[in-house]
């Protein structure tokens, strides 16, 4: 399965790029994260604290146990600070 991965705010800065396309067999967001962590030190730093990690699956907020079947886009970011 091919996924578009997006990063925002300081996760984007740590990963060093705003998006990347990955080929993965991950079943859930959590599985995907453990694969991404291995990609670079930047990735590892971005995902160092899963407690504050937020994610969206196909542009809907989701949690780490969200399944990835049929999904095209997954985004990772810190807690939001809008308003």
């Amino acid at each position: 399965m091919t996924l578009e991965i997006l990063y925002f705010a300081w996760l984007r800065e740590r990963v060093g790029q705003p998006r990347e396309t990955v080929s993965t067999d991950a079943a859930t967001v959590r599985d995907l994260v453990s694969q991404l962590v291995a990609r670079s030190d930047g990735h590892a730093a971005a995902f160092a604290d899963l407690g504050t990690l937020r994610c969206a699956v196909d542009q809907q907020l989701a949690d780490l146990d969200a399944p990835l079947a049929g999904v095209r886009e997954v985004a990772f970011f810190p807690p939001m600070t809008g308003g």
Binding site: F8, A9, Q59, A75, P78, P79, M80, T81, G82, G83
Partner: protein, 144 residues
């Protein structure tokens, strides 16, 4: 009933022209860039194009359903916003004041913690610091 994400400033007066016709109560909230330290030049706001518009529309529709709003509007800016300038606004219209107040209050709580925006404080010396999410913003959602 509309949500917009834009880099440009907005004009509250123009936005309210014709807003909430027939309603008894209109509430607006405007958020402005505040400089508490005297060292800040601007905010830089990043967002998630595509998702942002969808999230704002979803929260607006949910507020309308929940508080029986006859009209609502959300505008949120992104990019660089100077100290003193408006960041965002919500407006709600309803028959009675309680619903208009609660609808606006509810929307603000959701925007703070669930809309995909991230703020960076840009100091006068050019340094940038990501704004940390507040626990109080997360807790505020528990009220609803």
């Amino acid at each position: 009933m509309s949500a917009r994400v834009q880099a440009e400033p907005f004009d509250l007066a123009a936005e309210l022209s014709g807003f909430g016709t027939g309603a008894g109560a209109v509430v607006t909230f405007t958020g402005l860039v505040r400089d508490d330290t005297g060292l800040m030049a601007a905010l830089q706001i990043e967002h998630y194009p595509g998702m942002t518009e969808r999230a704002l529309s979803d929260y607006g529709a949910e507020a309308a359903r929940r508080f029986q709003l006859s009209d609502w509007r959300i505008i949120h800016r992104h990019g660089r916003i100077e100290v003193g300038a408006p960041i965002m606004m919500v407006a709600t219209a309803a028959r009675h004041r309680r619903a208009a107040f609660e609808g606006a209050d509810y929307l603000m709580d959701w925007l703070k913690s669930r809309a995909p925006f991230w703020k960076q404080e840009i100091a006068r010396d050019g340094s940038a610091t990501w704004v940390q999410a507040k626990n109080s913003d997360e807790d505020a959602l528990l009220r609803w």
